[in-house]
Amino acid sequence: MRHTTGAKSLNIKLIDEPGQNVVFLKDMKTIEFFYDEEFNSLVQYYTVHNKIQVNAHEAIEIYNKHYIATARVLGIEDLRVRVITPNGVKEIDEVDLKDYEGEDKYSSYKYFAIDGVEIGSQIEFIYTLKMVPQLEGSRELFQSDELKLNNDFHIYCEDKIHFNLKSYNGFAQVVLDTATEGKNHYSASMDRIEPLRPEPYGPYQNSLMRVEYKVSYIEPANDVKLYTYDQLANQLNTYFLEEISKKSIAKLKKLSQELKLSSRSEEEKIRTIEDYIKRNISISEAATQDPENIELILEKKVTNQRGVMKLFAWLFSTNQVDFLLGLTSDRSRVKMDSEFESYNWLENYLFYFPGIDKYMAPTEMLFRLGFIPYNWSNNYGLFIKSVKIGNTSAGIGEIRFIEPLPYDANEDKINVNVKIDGDFDALKLFINREMSGYNISFIQPVFDLVPEKERKMVINELLNISDKDVVLDEFNMENSSLETFYQKPLILHGVVTTSNSFFDKAGNRYLLKIGELIGNQVEMYQEEDRKLPVENEYNRNYERTISFNIPEGYEVRNLDDLNMDLVYKDKDGQLSMGFQSNYTMAGNEVKVTINEFYKSLEYPLEQFEDFRRVINAAADFNKKVLIFQKG
């Protein structure tokens, strides 16, 4: 049960920040490290102090509940909550803490609702958790999409413990204060942090103000750096390549024979192994019974991420495939800083094959050799090579930059031939589309799932006819199955008849909506005060051709409307992005060629307007209409 004491008389000052539904009046995170007798190890007190003013109904609904993830929590030492309203302060004497027990500790949390919140209230809570520390690398995020005042970050520890810390995106530098006898106190604070909101094509999460920190060394062992990449390289090497049972080795050999690996080239071996594992083995962190036992994995076909890594590593080494085991971050959340050593970047597994210079994402079902999730590229990674030393082996780590794939790896080509029937009684469209690379990562693997007759929706979408009144007369598709996943482009052919779409009427004139034939294009027409640079998901190239015959007796006088030319060069004078459209006419036949490309993932803020113009050029083309009138 909760109780609220009577309101205390207090002169409450509400903060007036016009246009802000929420203002954080305080955000303090304090981490204090100490040696705990009971756990016989270093543990931390983690204290959060927040004061949040809510100025709108929706804001109340968001902030009148609070959730505490309990993955590393050993106990809640202190929890105090109060609500400050214009009428007084309501202390909540006993917080009704609810427990959510998830399938594993990472999905478990404790939470509570906050009583008595009204518009204009300030919600204030402070709590201290006793936790297993994350000494190998940790992060505190301070900026959000709300205005935040009085931001403080503190670490307290014994003076023999030394941390590496780094502030990002303009957050105050962390300073060390050794004035207190026997204590190190690291701190950073900022009185005011402006809200940062997500922007299209902007690396939002990675641009937020934050601190990364990691323990460096503990005196007196000043030379023994802790949690280094070298140590990790050795540990992972041992973990994934440590001896496995004879039975497991026999099973691996049998599988290798079944997959006919010995007769294949290195790249074929890798593809065959990858395809076998991704098609047959499920990955679930809820797999609990000896999940990393290779013999059991091959029988039950269920394992966790580590188990699947181990299976890959052993299949590769059994079949003499040279590989580096890698780890990296997802740059849509946070980009790995090659200058700052921390295990916190290392959240996704990958492999690099030096023999063929390609990467692979072993745990990602929608990706295949050469195509790792694009947000893992244009990023650094830690890569570990296993080196034989006598009878044992050691892991050697190195930082590599994972280059993004070039623009022509991700192509989308559309070719539409328009046949005008009779006196505009109907249009017949002969549509061909060819897509490659990341453009098909969300189509090819799923297409197998969709029963024959139900593919209509996907097909309509791909032929750009989903909202149109059309009849699909013919359709076929090549390379739609997983066998050709990423290796061959997905090819679609469709023949469509319509007497109601893609052309309008105005008296005796017909208006061919040629721009709609390339499908809806993204627009960025609304001008807003841009804060973030551009970082695309992947480089890409679009080529479209549209051809048609002008029927006997008609003329089209506005063909020149189709000419567009907008290209930009990078600092080396190379074309970096553009949208170009032009036409040729031979007799009655008109052929329109359109090309749009982005050869660079990143464009600085100064180039944002250029980027916007190219994006909008494609959207402008959507509006192109040709007027057919009797000559």
Partner: protein, 655 residues
Amino acid sequence: MIVRPLIDFLNRNTVLQKIIHIKPILLPVLLGCWFNTFAQTRDGEIGQVNDHRENVIISIDEAGALKIESRISEEVQYFNDNAKLFGEEAVSYSASFAEITDMQASTSVPTDKSNKYKKIAVTDFIKSDNRSDGVFYDDQKKISFIFPALQAGAITSFSYTKKYFEPRLWGHFLFSSLFHVKNCVYTVTAPTTIRLKYKVFGDDKSQIEFRQEQKDKNTVYTWEAHDIDKITLPKGADGIWHDEPHLIIYVESFTFNGAEHSVLRNINDLYTWYHSFTKGLEDENKDGLADLVASIVEGKSTEIEKVEAIYYWVQQNIKYIAIEDGLGGFKPRTANTVFTRRYGDCKDMSNLLYNMLGMANIQSHLTWIGTTRIPYSYEEVPTPMSSNHMICTYKNDGNYYFLDATDQYNKLGIPTTHIQGREALIDMGNNDYEIVPVPVVSPELNQVIDSATIGVVNKRISGSGKTSFRGYNRLAITNNLENLNSVAKQNFLTALLRKGNNKFSLSTANTEYLANKNHDLVINYDFTIDDYLIQNQDEILLNPHVSKDLANSYIDTSMVKTSIYYPFKNISANVLTIQIPAGYRVSYVPENNSYAGDDFSYKLDYRHVGDKLIVEQKITLNTLKITPDQFDEWNTMVKGLFSAYRESVVMQKKH
């Protein structure tokens, strides 16, 4: 909300569960086409339910209490390797009302020898909490496990026993599934001293065979079905209870030691049970609340005004947070608790309203109701299956006011959208109740009228307009306008008022009556549209259908097989006045066009008045549901509209 019976219903159907447990990474891909991957055709099918059965045994123990125990089993066969996606399985239940035991699961994997399978048993079952969507805290638990070695040809089977602690919450079975169902059997074995009542619901009940046999002192009731088509859900899960074949069964009464004990014989029994949760909810001290009520009604002369003021206060100040802990799922918290906390769920808000009105000396009534996702009347199904919601009813001069504070922006006198057309079970006091139908709000009361005047300057359209939003149409808009930050609000308004193409740009927008629920919400605005009109030598071509409502609503009858549901009846009217540019005359105007049906209609009129051309477009939806037999008629209307939208006006330069 008292949603428990429906949650259990969903939880029982294991394949339905899977749509919730699909790996997040696949979601963006599958969102569009997921439901349709389970269509009636057999080619490319992922799997089928070979056998789904539930055997219920009811008995009366020595103390005279009903015991209901059910053994549930399901066997699914997979046809291709995508089976792997269906490995994660979970059974959920309410820990306060049921217990799950003896769970067994395994996969049978085909071997090299024909017709020989190797069975791999599941060894790990993980029990965890399972908070329902939109609920802050409840007692839902789930037991999860992974089927190993799923592949083409694999057969999974699993079974468990479920014991019901509360007999009133037992009794439903869905025959269909998201896979084709080969065999499906539901049996109930009960002594003849127990009287059961049952009914099969759904669009097509013809495949379900029923038989009743006598075995010693027991009666065995059996429902059996074969080759049930899978569920296609292009329009969300709400339709399941209306369309899909399912059984509702419950205990009316039983005889023990010669005496008859009633359970759910009729609405009165249901009312009596519900009433047991709302009795005696008195607060010890509610002075603070009484003071508040006094200040709210101060200066209000009529009772209606007082009701309105109190209703609006609760809507405005009490936030929706649902806590469903055991019988707490049925029992409201006291008025003072909810007032102090400033949050509660539907029953908490209803009880607060009831108490606050009482303090103002106004009689009101706690009311149980089922939302529109429930298809049964109380007469048909006098069980908790018929309700999932609570409101407060106020009666004035024979008129009923259904007060539902869970929607912050709803106005007095109009029911919330999700209870329209449903039955209210109203507690009249003195152990008496009334069943009153909640009206469906007429389309006129939800109309949106947009009037805009446009002119042409160079090749740009510029104009000003006014849109008024009435009834349900103003709810979501009010919510957005009150809560969005300035950038998001501008984007929202641009999308809301957009005309012509996406180069529509809003220069100003002013809102009136945002806080006045009793008035239409009005937005006055100025705008420009680029690249929309076509200048062709000495003529201007202009498509006057700048808002193409319903243009994309063609129903593909090869894919959609069940009714389509709408949250409310609606009128959408657009009046566009085109100022003909000086020096131009109108040389072509399309013909007027209309379609008139009982449930849906449109009207498109062109009028030439002086130097103005007025284009009026009005679309009426006068139903909450379009049934499959109406699809052709609907498509005829949409095609007509689509065709009319293609016609442009021509303005010619005068010579």
